[in-house]
């Protein structure tokens, strides 16, 4: 094996390691392992010290193991390739698990907040009594039943558990974001919340151990409960929005609009619809352009490429950009020029009386697209009305000019035809 082959072999091995490290199943198996250790240690310590905090947390972690398996199933389904029935794949299933995890965090946060309030009230007996008089269903406070010899063990278990949760949650979130698995990110957030709760529980034990003041735990616990509820709400709302195909966030849509209008050839952005399928951003745009098909191909490329780049930067694993082009809305109307014959050719006549011809011009957005030269009829006014002309241009010089803005007489109900000064005398400058 020469050095080049050996280098390429090393690169492949490195690539395999990275692939394994970023494999969602590797992460989730690690999560299962972590929770198994936690369940074993917390339940053992809980039953040995008769600690309801440790026992309930141990059972909570047991449910986390089941949740980890559920996430694996969801990831498996989300990774299935798209087919004709599900052209965008089934990655939205991840939002179902995010929804459930978000909801469970909301419940967990509320439960934790309630326990903390009960804990605080326990140290204020009068207030406790008063509150319980009104809220009869308040749970009883379960203090930690430990002795001096068990404190170091309990502190060690909770500190180790909290640290593990923090490390594993970071790993889950990183892999979830890089592979586009929302459920992994959500589960990572849940693991992080567990870690925070464990650290607070540890502070309670430390408080009791060092100062004989276990109440120290509860104000902090209320703070953590708020964080947990906030995380739960975010996960829930994100999943809810994605499942109901809510638009992408406003700032993302604004950037999409700005980027689109930045591409040469786009006259206007008529409609924009966006939503999310899994971590795929979907954008449906209707654009206005004046350009022909060959040029529009490059406009399409520019919009697609630049939006794809932006959405990737914005954190979406991929994007689907669908563009529809519409031609320019044209404002059409009709004008006329009074034309007279001079010795050297046609010119714009100074007035209707001296005109020998009338050039009836179809105008689109200020541009004469069609002009027809008609011999001036004996009665030009009705003729101009019949042709739906709304302005007649003449070229009269000098003193006559300001006084010219007169109207051709019209019958009641007819729109007046305005006589206005032409800028040019020579009809060829009008394309005539």
């Amino acid at each position: 094996m020469n050095s080049q082959e050996s280098r390429s072999g090393a690169q492949t091995t490195q690539g395999n390691w990275r692939e394994r490290l970023y494999n969602p199943y590797t992460v989730m198996w690690l999560v299962v392992l972590m929770y198994t250790i936690k369940v074993a240690t917390k339940l053992s310590a809980g039953y040995l010290t008769n600690s309801p905090v440790f026992i309930s947390d141990g059972y909570h972690n047991l449910s986390d193991i089941l949740q980890a398996f559920a996430v694996m199933v969801v990831v498996y389904m989300a990774r299935r390739p798209p087919n004709t029935d599900y052209p965008l794949g089934k990655s939205n299933i991840e939002f179902f698990s995010s929804l459930v995890i978000g909801l469970s965090l909301l419940v967990l946060g509320a439960q934790f907040a309630l326990q903390s309030l009960v804990g605080l009230l326990y140290y204020l007996p009068q207030a406790d009594q008063a509150v319980r008089a009104y809220i009869t269903f308040l749970p009883d406070h379960k203090p930690l039943l430990t002795d001096a010899s068990s404190y170091p063990w309990l502190i060690g278990i909770m500190a180790g558990s909290g640290l593990l949760s923090w490390l594993v949650s970071r790993y889950q979130i990183t892999v979830g974001r890089s592979t586009g698995h929302t459920s992994l990110v959500a589960d990572g957030e849940e693991t992080a919340s567990d870690g925070r709760i464990e650290l607070i529980a540890m502070l309670g034990v430390v408080g009791q151990f060092l100062f004989g003041a276990p109440w120290l735990e509860y104000p902090l616990a209320l703070l953590v409960a708020t964080l947990v509820i906030h995380t739960g709400k975010e996960l829930f709302m994100q999943a809810f929005r994605a499942l109901l195909q809510h638009s992408l966030p406003q700032e993302v849509e604004e950037e999409i609009m700005a980027i689109t209008m930045d591409v040469a050839g786009v006259s206007d952005l008529l409609t924009l619809k966006t939503f999310q399928v899994g971590q795929v951003a979907v954008c449906l745009l209707t654009l206005r352009t004046k350009l022909g098909a060959e040029k529009v191909g490059f406009v399409r490329l520019g919009v697609e490429q630049r939006l794809t780049d932006y959405l990737k930067e914005a954190g979406y694993i991929s994007s689907e950009i669908h563009l529809k082009f519409k031609g320019e809305a044209v404002r059409r109307y009709r004008i006329a020029y009074a034309i007279a014959q001079s010795n050297t050719g046609m010119v714009v006549a100074p007035d209707l009386q001296t005109a020998s011809h009338l050039a009836i011009c179809d105008v689109e957005d200020g541009h004469i697209t069609r002009a027809r030269m008609e011999v001036k009829p004996a009665q030009p006014e009705p003729f101009l009305h019949e042709k739906l002309v709304d302005r007649l241009f003449v070229f009269s010089a000098g003193q006559q000019a300001p006084a010219l803005k007169q109207l051709i007489a019209v019958k009641p109900g007819e729109k007046a035809i305005e006589i206005v000064q032409s800028t040019v005398l020579m009809p060829d400058l009008l394309g005539l």
């Binding site: 490059f298 000098g398 009008l430």
Partner: protein, 255 residues
């Protein structure tokens, strides 16, 4: 072909086509960037029997152009035709007039109406091959880039050399193109103009140029017409395909 040295003439046809307002907007911007004071407007003068009205028509055209461009009326010059070397803004150039420079605005309303963010993200593209004429295109592109606050983008697409495995497009460039690249980059450096160079192996040269212009946020493509190609001039093909405004420099201007 330094615009300042040769007193470049910037012109538009009056009422010639649909794009009167954008044409005048581009003319106004170029006057500013190229330090040109006058705008030349081509308009047919009346015949001998109407000479008394000729001045009236000229006055009205001057007033109209002045109103649309904010250029003083006495800086609007009415001409019967454009002299060789003039830069004309028009979406429908006369392709046979090789002694003029044509700027087609396409559907753009001005040189700086798009492109948000950092000005240097936007670019003025000078595609180059293995001929010297692109150096003359740079002489025109440089003040426009400086004036509009855009970077210069030198673009080259090359055919792959058979048997050469390198995936780097630069490695497939011919010697002449490498020399031209060096000259362009040296000139931009000498003028303290920000620039970037993009070398590709596009399947089609014209498509490659237009695609790069769109993706690299070019405000303008400045290209000379080929001195030798009679059919399929890349410059005209780019003109036909590009949504980005294009300046084509007639071959008699660069020869």
């Amino acid at each position: 072909m330094n615009p300042k040295q040769t007193k470049l003439i910037i012109g538009v046809d009056y009422f010639r086509n649909i794009d009167r307002v954008p044409n005048l907007a581009f003319a106004r911007a170029l006057m500013q960037y190229l330090d040109v004071e006058l705008i030349h407007v081509r308009a047919t003068a009346p015949g001998a029997d109407m000479t008394h009205l000729a001045e009236e028509q000229a006055t009205r055209i001057r007033q109209d152009v002045s109103r649309l461009t904010q250029v003083p009326e006495d800086c609007v010059v009415i001409v019967p035709d454009f002299p060789p070397g003039a830069l004309i803004i028009d979406n429908f150039p006369d392709r046979n007039r090789q002694n003029l420079i044509w700027l087609a605005p396409m559907d753009e309303r001005g040189l700086t109406t798009r492109h948000r963010g950092s000005a240097n993200d936007a670019s003025i593209m000078v595609p180059f091959g293995n001929g010297n004429s692109c150096l003359k295109a740079l002489q025109l592109a440089a003040p426009i880039a400086r004036g509009s606050g855009a970077a210069l983008l030198f673009y080259h697409t090359t055919w792959k050399i058979p048997g050469l495995a390198s995936v780097k497009a630069d490695d497939h460039m011919c010697r002449e193109a490498i020399a031209i690249r060096k000259a362009l980059e040296e000139e931009a450096t000498a003028q303290s103009l920000p620039f970037r160079t993009l070398i590709e192996t596009a399947d089609d040269v014209a498509d490659g140029i237009v695609q790069a212009a769109v993706l690299q946020r070019s405000r303008l493509i400045v290209m000379p017409r080929s001195q030798t190609v009679e059919v399929g001039d890349y410059c005209l093909r780019v003109f036909d395909k590009s949504p980005v405004p294009v300046i084509t420099i007639g071959k008699e201007v660069t020869s």
